[in-house]
Amino acid sequence: MPEENSKKKSTLLHIAALLVMVLLVMAVYHAVRPGAGRLTADFFYPYLRVSRMAVNTVSDQTLLSFSRMELAAKLEQQQKVNTLLAFQAAAASELLRENQALRRYLGIKAPENWNYITAEVMLRDPLLWLEHFTITRGRNDGIKQGDAVLDISEDGIPILVGVIGSCGKHNSEVMTVYNPDFCFSAGIGQERLIGFVNAGGRQGSDGRIPVGYLSSADTPVIGSAVFTTGFEQHIPGGIKIGELERVEEVNPLFATAGRASGLIRPSFNPNRLRFVIIARREQETGRP
């Protein structure tokens, strides 16, 4: 009997010790996480890269499963898109030149240019699939915390994916627009009515992100495109975020009267993400 009691006591002690250990681990992790997470990813970079290589192999094999005719048709279609984009780029550069000349005549300072770096998605979290992911570029490539991460939509329009949340030597964590901790300003429609994404009284749901602090005096049109404003230092302006899907006034009894909130359907599709583009101000990169 005393033996049984001591055995029970020992088991209970073990369970208690384990629980204390888990709580300690959670507390310590919370404190050291910003550095430790990226340090681990740097140290285990080749290990983590293996998992992505396997995914890419599957993806490439899926592409090869198309017939030659189908691949040729897709190539032809892509060439047409490329030609159109080349013409658009030429027109845009002509407009830029004209804009620069006009600014010079009027004595207005020219806007800063942006440099773009491509990166590959290395690791996706299955539980926080929409909120964050890891890319294969880090401090060694000149990436800094807060840099904007962009993607190109199927119709060739640049769209905002998120910003760099934390940076390691070889890889970085990206906070997407779905992440409730990433708040930024947005311009809605042609009038560019200002609102704040992931802010206000609403919660995002079902693949939609909230936009708050919209002026209820100028009701935005449902379905209007939502763009970045350029107010944030590291996010270029005029990048598409998504479309306004719903506007609803927050109950004035519980929130600031005169302010409305709504929901945005982001253009960024998290399921077809393989490469992203990181935007950096030219000044920061040290280039002329």
Binding site: H14, R52, L128
Partner: protein, 191 residues
């Protein structure tokens, strides 16, 4: 050798979890591996390994909070409850509920943790659908994992999970134990 086997296998299982996670599926081969170790080597080291594996997973994913240690620990503890006694571990059918229970608790614990921390489920397709898929995965995966790891353990001369012969169940007296070992020094002395 035991530690080497445990660490290597656990790292391989974690890599497989990361690989499956990249496709958007949240299932855990690590839980199955931990349960195998629990059945073969005992529970104390396994539970510590569960905490370490959880922290490693959170660090790799750069998650804002470390909840995987608690989740893996809960799932392993739930699976341990279903592990049959050593003398009954002679059929793979008996390991079906072990894997199913562990994967089921893994999904529920993850959903509970994410719900507590971020106020959402973490499973866009819904918890019941994912729970069923994960349990089915665990049911099929754990016996497969047992066969694979048992083969490696037998090669490395380590304790196995399954007992396929009676001598594995009951410790028997080896008649050769009583025979004095003929060493070179003894042989010299006799001469």
């Amino acid at each position: 050798m035991k530690i080497f086997f445990l660490v290597t296998t656990l790292l391989a299982a974690l890599l497989a979890d990361l690989l499956i996670g990249n496709f958007g599926f949240s299932v855990s081969l690590t839980t199955g591996t931990l349960l195998y170790f629990c059945g073969s080597f005992g529970s104390k080291h396994t539970l510590l390994a569960a905490v370490a594996a959880g922290v490693f997973l959170d660090m790799c994913y750069a998650r804002p909070e470390a909840f995987s240690a608690a989740v893996l620990l809960t799932a392993t503890a739930a699976g341990m409850y279903f592990i049959p006694a050593r003398e009954y571990r002679n059929s793979l059918i008996r390991s079906l509920p072990v894997g199913a229970a562990a994967e089921g608790v893994f999904v529920l614990a993850n959903a509970a943790a994410i719900s507590c921390i971020w106020g959402k489920t973490g499973y866009p397709s819904g918890i019941p659908a994912h729970l069923m898929t994960a349990m089915l995965f665990g049911m099929l995966c754990f016996p497969g994992l047992t066969i694979l790891l048992d083969t490696i353990a037998a090669t490395l001369n380590l304790p196995r999970y399954l007992v396929s012969a009676p001598e594995d169940i009951l410790p028997q007296n080896n008649p050769l134990d009583d025979v004095p070992v003929e060493t070179a020094s003894r042989r010299r002395r006799r001469k």
